[in-house]
């Protein structure tokens, strides 16, 4: 079983069609599957529903798919810093389901773990609770949230071995792990692919069972949204 594909276009072959539900990893521009997003843009598929914490920024990340109007609906917790998103949203061209960040992560985790729904205190008594079942446990109210099952997951990792065992780096792990598990097919791009046996089995973040297709995405020119630094004290 060969999981490694020569490039993003090849890795997505046969998976893409109009109206697809995608789950994408990343937080802001940190840990986003850039190569795979570019390939989805190039494919021209339309009417996509995308579950992703953010929607990229203008012409970066998922912002590229918004620019080409390939997205019908976003399921996200925060969509600031994106003018094109704002324009389409205000014009009624783009549907948005705002989902609290932790609820979104858990919906992906649950979907991937075979849990169709779960109760959470998050959002009780707010707009988020509208239309959802409320149930009291031990005297406190909880709302029912649904697990997310995506057709395809797009994720970005740091290192993977040839079998698909994968590691993330620092805060670039974020939504990549839960997103990977909730897709019927997960396509991963990584910075380095190493031979089987090179990674310590105790240090695998995402076991190979969740990774169906894999590409080497390097070299990366990782973008920073807010570069904040401190001054070095001079002697």
């Amino acid at each position: 079983m060969q999981k490694i594909y020569p490039n993003a276009e090849a890795a997505l072959e046969g998976l893409l069609r109009d109206g697809l539900i995608l789950a994408a990893g990343g937080f802001g521009l940190c840990g986003i599957p850039e190569r795979l997003i570019d390939a989805v843009v190039a494919s021209g598929v339309k009417g996509l529903t995308i579950a992703s914490n953010n929607a990229g920024i203008d012409n970066e990340g998922l912002g590229k798919l918004l620019r080409t109007r390939q997205v019908a609906k976003m399921i996200s917790s925060y969509v600031g810093e994106n003018k094109e998103f704002e324009r389409q949203f205000l014009a009624g061209e783009l549907e948005v389901e705002f989902c609290p960040q932790g609820t979104l992560a858990e919906r992906m985790r649950a979907g991937g773990a075979g849990i169709p729904g779960f109760y959470t205190k998050t959002g009780v008594g707010t707009q988020v609770a509208e239309g959802k079942e409320v149930k009291a446990f031990d005297g406190e109210d909880y709302i029912l949230e649904r697990g997310i099952r995506a057709d395809v997951s797009l994720i970005k990792g740091w290192k993977a071995d040839e079998s698909g065992n994968l590691m993330f780096r620092k805060t670039a792990r974020n939504f990549n792990l839960p997103a990977a598990t909730c897709g019927r097919v997960c396509v991963a791009e990584v910075e380095e692919i190493v031979p089987v046996g090179s990674l310590d089995p105790d240090c695998i973040h995402l076991p190979s069972i969740y990774v169906n297709r894999l590409i080497l995405g390097a070299p990366y020119d990782k973008k920073i949204e807010f570069r904040t630094v401190r001054e070095r004290e001079t002697a």
Binding site: L29, C30, Y78, Q101, G102, A105, K170, V229
Partner: protein, 211 residues
């Protein structure tokens, strides 16, 4: 003299205790990190997947894979750990975080918080705020006492869409501190900024509270 932004953050920092795990919101709450009392171990959580937030990096140490929930570059500490978003919110929702300090647009006298959207303006989303107020053991809201137009922000009922219902434990404004021991009690005015009178606070507050 009302408190300035840093004074308000310093006042919030007085609520820290040794061993606390804390989540700080964007804006004034972030300044709490500069006011952690010496000798006290406080671990800061970043909801994008990190415990043990370090200071902003030096210019040559900036790492695009290492950011906080405000998407700013940060650094790690020897005791830092990383995890995914589901794990991050499991520790938030599960009540493992001791304290969250958040900004606010409105707080009601019943402890409701509104801080995520203004109808008619572009909605950016709630991010992790709803999860934090639902799961963290103690919620401190730090905000200006009145809006730019001079309207009270600590009010009988929130007019803006809620972030959480009956979730706030303490309010720190530029004028005063209000606290309640539990979610069934009314807020009590427990402290005034230097030179601020209880009368002034009363005039600028429409919420009912105990003095």
């Amino acid at each position: 003299m009302p408190w300035d932004r840093n004074d308000m953050a310093a006042r919030a920092a007085k609520e820290l205790q040794d061993g606390y795990y804390v989540n700080l919101g964007i804006g004034i709450p972030t300044l709490v990190a500069n006011n952690i009392p010496g000798g006290m171990t406080v671990t800061l959580q970043s909801e994008n997947g990190m415990l043990g937030i370090g200071p902003f990096p030096y210019d040559d140490e900036v790492d695009p894979d290492l950011i906080n929930a405000g998407k700013q570059t940060i650094s790690e500490l020897p005791q830092s750990s990383y995890f995914d978003s589901a794990q991050s919110f499991a520790m938030i929702r599960g009540g493992h975080i001791d304290l969250a300090v958040l900004g606010g647009m409105e707080v009601s006298e019943k402890g409701d918080l509104a801080n995520w959207m203004v109808p008619g303006k572009m909605i950016k989303g709630m991010g992790g705020a709803m999860d934090l107020v639902a799961g963290v053991k103690k919620i401190i809201v730090v905000m200006e006492h009145t809006s730019k137009a001079g309207d009270a922000k600590f009010i009988p009922e929130c007019t803006l869409p809620l972030t959480g219902k009956n979730v706030v434990d303490m309010i720190i404004t530029d004028l005063a501190v209000f606290h309640r021991p539990d979610h069934d009690s009314p807020f009590k005015l427990i402290e005034l900024a230097p030179g601020v009178t209880a009368d002034e606070v009363r005039q600028k507050t429409s919420a009912r509270y105990v003095e």
